[in-house]
Symmetry: C2
Subunit: 465 residues, 2 copies
Amino acid sequence: MSDCDIFDLVVIGGGPGGYVAAIRCAQQGMKVACVDKALLPGGTCLREGCIPSKVLLESSGHFEQASEQLAQHGVIIEGPRLDLDRMMKRKEQTVHMLGKGVESLFRKHGVTFLHGEARLEKASTVSVLTQAGDSIRLEAPRVLLALGSRPQQVPQVPMDGERIVSSSEALSWSTVPEHLIIIGGGYIGLELGSVWKRLGSQVTVIEAENRLFSHMDEGLAQEAQRLFSRQGIEMILGQKVLGASNLGHGCRVDLADGRQVMGSHVLVAVGRCPRSDGADLSAMGVNLDDRGRVEVNEQFETSVPGVYAIGDLIAGPMLAHKAEEEAVVLARQWQGESVVVHHDRIPSVVYTHPELASVGLSEQALVASGRAFKKGVFHFRANGRARAAAKVDGWVKTLADQATDEILGVHIIGEGAGELIHQAATAMHFKATLADLANICHAHPTYAEAVRESALAADGRAIHA
Amino acid sequence: MSDCDIFDLVVIGGGPGGYVAAIRCAQQGMKVACVDKALLPGGTCLREGCIPSKVLLESSGHFEQASEQLAQHGVIIEGPRLDLDRMMKRKEQTVHMLGKGVESLFRKHGVTFLHGEARLEKASTVSVLTQAGDSIRLEAPRVLLALGSRPQQVPQVPMDGERIVSSSEALSWSTVPEHLIIIGGGYIGLELGSVWKRLGSQVTVIEAENRLFSHMDEGLAQEAQRLFSRQGIEMILGQKVLGASNLGHGCRVDLADGRQVMGSHVLVAVGRCPRSDGADLSAMGVNLDDRGRVEVNEQFETSVPGVYAIGDLIAGPMLAHKAEEEAVVLARQWQGESVVVHHDRIPSVVYTHPELASVGLSEQALVASGRAFKKGVFHFRANGRARAAAKVDGWVKTLADQATDEILGVHIIGEGAGELIHQAATAMHFKATLADLANICHAHPTYAEAVRESALAADGRAIHA
């Protein structure tokens, strides 16, 4: 590589937004470079987000199942004993393998990957300081910012990386914390809380609002809260945290009502904030909104012409697949297609046990809007496959316009909810009605039958209820 | 009940076809009676088909997982030891609970359930010989035959109910057979073969055709064969069975090529045949086709006016949900709706590990038809969730019309295939194109992403391949 290389597109950030944009644009014939400060592409999602958490959720789920659920199946064991080292090793191997996978996809598609610190020098120029200390200048008519996000800090709870930590550290502990206090009742808190609870920690979740998962359907969150409580996760809702201290042998968290919660470790999981302070963006005149997110128009272009942004850096839910969706839509727009991201049909999943998954409007949003709607709920306890598998918790809720029958939202809590939601997302892509869903032949016995039954239930026609 | 009761509909048979028809028609305001020779409704599906097999597949799956797959997750156990009694007890409890469930649905919907032998006396008259020995006559302008099917016998392999058995007995053994020989490489044989293999049996499957699952996509069946072989299931394909004998201490199966296969038990699983010899149907003039199935028109009416038939008794795949679908469509037709069963969109699932699931046309059917089509395949080994869960076997194949891009078939082998297939069935309900599927936002990381990627792959646009 010479000291100034010319590309069609330079992507800053190799996470799911950045790498998908790079690959898709390369497929469309563009010459693409992607810069990331990590050795392998993949970003937060791969290194300290979605993937490692799912590995630990899967493995800790096996541990819990071995402890508590095998006997009913006639499977008699002694143990289980936890080999946390081995569990963590599988996590690291999976992360490494998937990172190498993205790297090889880059090679296959001819995307140039650069490991280094990128800086936006001017609209069409990115300078990269490589790990080796070299400085490289990349020129491209289009620069895509996909810098992602980092864990949100809470000023009154200074993280020390040991006992008071972010999700990054909580994915890598080498011993099981005795009592984990989690500040934040969102998906990160409850997924990691589930992992450590299963592995033996006492877990206390503290949430400022009166409910979990503030962005999801309220009934779904309430049912989740009930089931998590039954699993032994303690919850303190509607309480602000005033401060927290590492006492050396443990931690203390001070609540607004004067209570103190004592634990061994504190996980701060109150959300994430965009990395808009990176890459000299503001110096370059890239406008931010009042929450520090990069402002873009419908074409994902920032206030600096030729500079684009997607993913956690801009407005919208901070989800890997939202970034991927924006990446693909942006690439398609650059091909001349007239497409947009349908933010109302982005599914969200919480990978606890049972899983939670939603697409479309929540029931409380419909109530607030005043729109007349109907609702069908079907419980997995009346579903043959759930019974056969002894996984009967949860239900499917479908919401539809009262007059047109069009599906407006689907909310699922139960086994495999995160997969089932895609049937609903597909139906909503076609502006399906509940009658459509009810008229699709479903294999028996499957969990998916509960989706159909919930659609039937909205009109009082469920067969198995 | 008097000695002659008058209904709007009498249903003979309380399986998934019969009981769904009864409930749906009752919802529509009809006065319905349902007769079954068993104490509780539910039929073959519930008592000795779908449900008990899924219970045993789930439980035996846990046994196998405990034996072989927990260690990689860092879950260290001693054992497992099999408590087959307990496993079977859960099966019986589940079957009983679901049977009671259908009974209570009947009560809720005002369906009269009669436990006894039904006989079609004339078009509008059904006589029932109850267990108590009483004879009851039911009158109704409409009689629905939903008698279902029984295991197909093989003349040269006489079943003795002990060592040479049908699926009914193979769901209830109280000890693990040492070496189970299965005649028939369809879903019943492979599901039950999987159960007993996992629990410790040596398993040999003998199939007359050169492939497994003759009604499914050939590539899917080949991949399944490869994976089952890896699991240690022996397969002898393309071999007719000439005879089998119970030798007292074991069994011998004679193959057409002169070989003899010795085992402890033989399961005959070559399919099912309609119970069209029951209920005096032929004496009443109900026409059968050359395969012994009751002939019906598009309105499910038999050659005897006012007498209808659905489910395994008539043509089409012998699947519980095909019977349910016919039940609902029939009920809707009786309400004046102009609806038919879309036989081309009935999904089929094999609940082995991994699962197989299909909807629409197979690749070989498309090749045979001469229609120009395109194909996308995406392997779960490149899917983040499959990697996180260490369940990477299998793939998704999507087939679409070359010119219009309309999806014609989707075939999945892999974790949760039986659930994922419903996204495809939903898409096909709307005559979706691959581009539609590719443009639906999928949550990350999910197995469902592989469905989207396979759609992209058909146009050489998969991101992760």
